[in-house]
Structures are given as C-alpha cells and as structure tokens.
Homo-oligomer: 227 residues x 2
DNA sequence: TAGATTGTTAATCGATTAACAATC
DNA sequence: TAGATTGTTAATCGATTAACAATC
C-alpha cells in the first residue's frame, strides 16, 4: 500500500488499539518492540502490524524493531490526538453523565466546552464544572462559539430536530449514541456511532450460537476423509 | 454459503441492524419488503441482504420479497432474543448506572439480576429496584445463583481479580466496557467489548484526516534525493 | 560481519457485488 | 401468464498472511 492511498476502515479501527498497547509498553519503560513481540501481546500478527504501520510511514528499523516512545508519538499524531476539537454534549441523562465523567476527552483530541439538556430540572446544574444549558440556546451558542463536534447522548426521537440545528450551524462531526442514522440525512457529515443495544444483541447471538448450536449435522461427505 | 458454515463476524454484526430496521417497518405497519427496498433504507445493497439472510435460511419468496413480521421474528430468533440469560453488573459508577438505566436488557435476551460495587457508600443503594451488593459477596452470589453473563463497568485495574472470581464460578460470557483484554487471559470465554475511548479516537482520526489531509502529493516518481 | 527485523511485494483468503436461473 | 424478486453461483474486490530482499 502506498502512503497516498486512502486508509481502510479496518486499519483505522486498529489504530486506537496500537495506541493503547504502545502507551502501556511506554509506561512500563520498554524502549523497543518488534512487530513479532507486539503481535504476541495484542493477539494479532506481525505481518498485519507492519502492513498497518507502513500505511503511514516507515517507523521501524531493520534488525532492531520499533522505538516505543517514538512509535507511540507517531500513532498519537496519526490519530490527531494533539488537536483540541471543541465539542458540545447534548443530553445529560445517565448516558450523557457517564460520557462526561468517564471519557478522557482531553487526551483524545477534544475539549468538552458545553452541555445541553431540555429538562428544566437539570438546566443550570453543574457537571464537571460546566453548567447544563437549556437546549433552546443551542443555535445561539453554536453561532457565537466555535463548535467542531457534537456528542449526541439523546433518545432517538430527540436527535433529528437538534441535528438540524447543529447542521445548520455548520457542525459536521458527531459522536452518536442514538440509533438515528445521521449519515442517511446529511451527506457530508462524519459520524461515529456507539450502539450499545447492538453490541448487547451481538453478545446474545454469540452466547446462543455457543449454547444452542444450529448444526444441521450434514453427516455424509465427512465420513470419507482420511488422516 | 451453506447453512452449515460458520457465520462470519461481518454478518453477525449486521444482524442487530436488520433487527432495528425490520422493527421499524413492522411498527409502521409494513407487511412486505424487498431486498432492494430494505437496502435503500439501510444504505446497503440488496445483494448483501439476500446473502446475509441466506446464511440462516430462505426467508423470502420469489416475486414477492420478505414478509416483514415473519422476517422480524426470524431475525429475533437468530439473535436469540427470546432467551433470558441471567446477567450481573459490576461497577455502578456513572457508566454502570447508564447501562442499568439505558439499555433494554429484557428485549435483548438478558435478565439483569444483581448489581455489585466495592464502594461502601453505594452498597445498599437501590438502582432500578435492585440493591447494590458488596463485591465481596460476588463469589457467594455466583455459586448460589445461576449467572450466565457479567457486564463489566469497572475501571481497568479492577477487572482482572474480579474476572478471576467470575471465571472460577463458571461465568463465561462478558460484556466488557474496560480495556482489560479478557480473551488474552481466558481462552474459552465470549467477550463483547465496548471501547468508548477507542471510538472517540477513531472520530478524532477521521476529523483530522478530513481537515488536515496528509496528501504527500507525490509529484514525480523518485525525484527523490536521498536523506 | 552475522543475525535480526523491517518494508514491501506476492499469494491467499474472505467478503462483497453482479448475474441469472428458479419460481412465486 | 408475465413481471418481480428471490436464492445461489460466479466474478470482483479488498484485506490478511506469507515470503523475502533490503538493511540496520
């Protein structure tokens, strides 16, 4: 793969994992790592690691491997974690609060600059030093501040009208926890979805598949093998 | 693909999406849908939908398409949503609370039967009608109740010792929100991971890639002086 | 230097798309 | 019946793995 080709989603989704394992190695004081060692740790293959990294550049050294702190910095830069995109969060219910308190925005490229909710009983409350604003002020806020991204922690039915406001104000990047499909409605947005229910259903499928396998036991064909 | 082959993860991860769109169609009173129509709605391809469904059986009818309520029921059955696997949740911090309150377990194949935390100030508190139990009782609880799955809403460093207790009690299915890699430690478990930080980093990468593209504009092949 | 390990090309494997005969 | 749409096979596309020359 040439360095100019578009990076595939498969590779992109592996980058945060490289980031995590390299951070751990770095914190443990490791100075070098080979693709073989890293693959072993991560449960992937050396070949894949070298292919992935070489999408972005030749970060290693023949006969030596990769310099851990250097590679960590490279991955951080590739991910763009040195940026501080301004983000607002909509919906400070249980999920929104968990996101505010649980996610490490600052080290993941984002500044969380404002919170919004429609529930009057929560408007004005401070969370992590930020007042919850009335969602009625959303448009005003976005027009008077630089807002790059929106984190949507809303019930599905609330998303569409608010997304229209956001889109109208030029917000193009979304972290979406609802099942409303923003890409179907707006064709020039970047949306990262987190679908907890889908994830849980996948677990249910995999459990069921293991506990109650649907083998239709095709008995022939198999018998005439040898060893 | 024969009905006996192992279903690929790509297909499995699309099943919850089929479930959602079919539920919506059903709720809107639609009786039939063709693969072409469904593909349009979902932003996928008719061919893929037919391929996916035919991993599990021939649910359609030539010249007609698919019966919506019937196909919905089939997908539900394939996902195993009619099961009621007993699940316990560990860690009722912000994230744990969000999961308890936000996720529709009952319609996704699970019964949430107990909550655990180590923080004495939260032990005893009721959440959704369930008392938070002391994590010290975890082993006792698991040995005296049928526990199929554990939802791990814990900080990374708390996972390993508790996972050992759970595994020792025969718990093999995990919904894991931490970055501790359970599959590296236990080789016969089924783990579904939700990595919020990874998801956010992926968004950061995609924003950065769009705003600051790294086109190296290779103007002439090897006009390259060495360095 | 000799051994190690990368960067990169080639081979394989798997997933998606296209095509079309079967059939409702 | 004729038109529509599936189920399924074949063709294409993309991703992973293997191999090895380059080189530290």
């Amino acid at each position: 793969m040439s360095k100019n080709d578009k990076i595939s989603m498969s590779v992109i989704r592996r980058l945060p994992r490289y980031y995590r394992f390299l951070l751990e190695l770095k914190n443990n004081g490791a100075m070098r790592v080979s693709s073989r060692e890293l693959a072993e740790k991560m449960g992937s293959s050396a070949s894949q690691i070298r292919q992935d990294l070489n999408c972005f550049g030749g970060f290693g050294q023949q006969g030596y491997g990769y310099d851990v702190p250097k590679l960590f910095d490279e991955i951080s830069a590739i991910l763009g974690l040195d940026h501080r995109y301004n983000a607002i969060l909509l919906g400070v219910g249980n999920l929104g609060r968990a996101v505010v308190n649980h996610v490490a925005f600052e080290s993941r490229g984002f500044n969380l600059v404002a919170l919004f909710d429609k529930d009057p009983s929560v408007v004005g409350v401070e969370i992590k030093g930020m007042p919850v604003r009335n969602v009625a002020e959303l448009g005003d806020y976005c027009r008077s501040h630089q807002v790059d991204a929106a984190f949507l922690c809303l019930p599905r039915e609330s998303v569409e009208p608010l997304a229209e406001v956001l889109y109208g104000c030029g917000v193009r990047y979304y972290w979406n926890f609802s099942h409303f499909d923003l890409t179907m409605k707006f064709d020039d947005v970047i949306v990262e979805n987190v679908h907890l229910n889908d994830s849980l259903m996948t677990l249910c499928y995999r459990i069921t598949e293991e506990k109650y396998p649907m083998i239709e036991d095709k008995p022939s064909e198999e018998a005439d093998g040898e060893n």
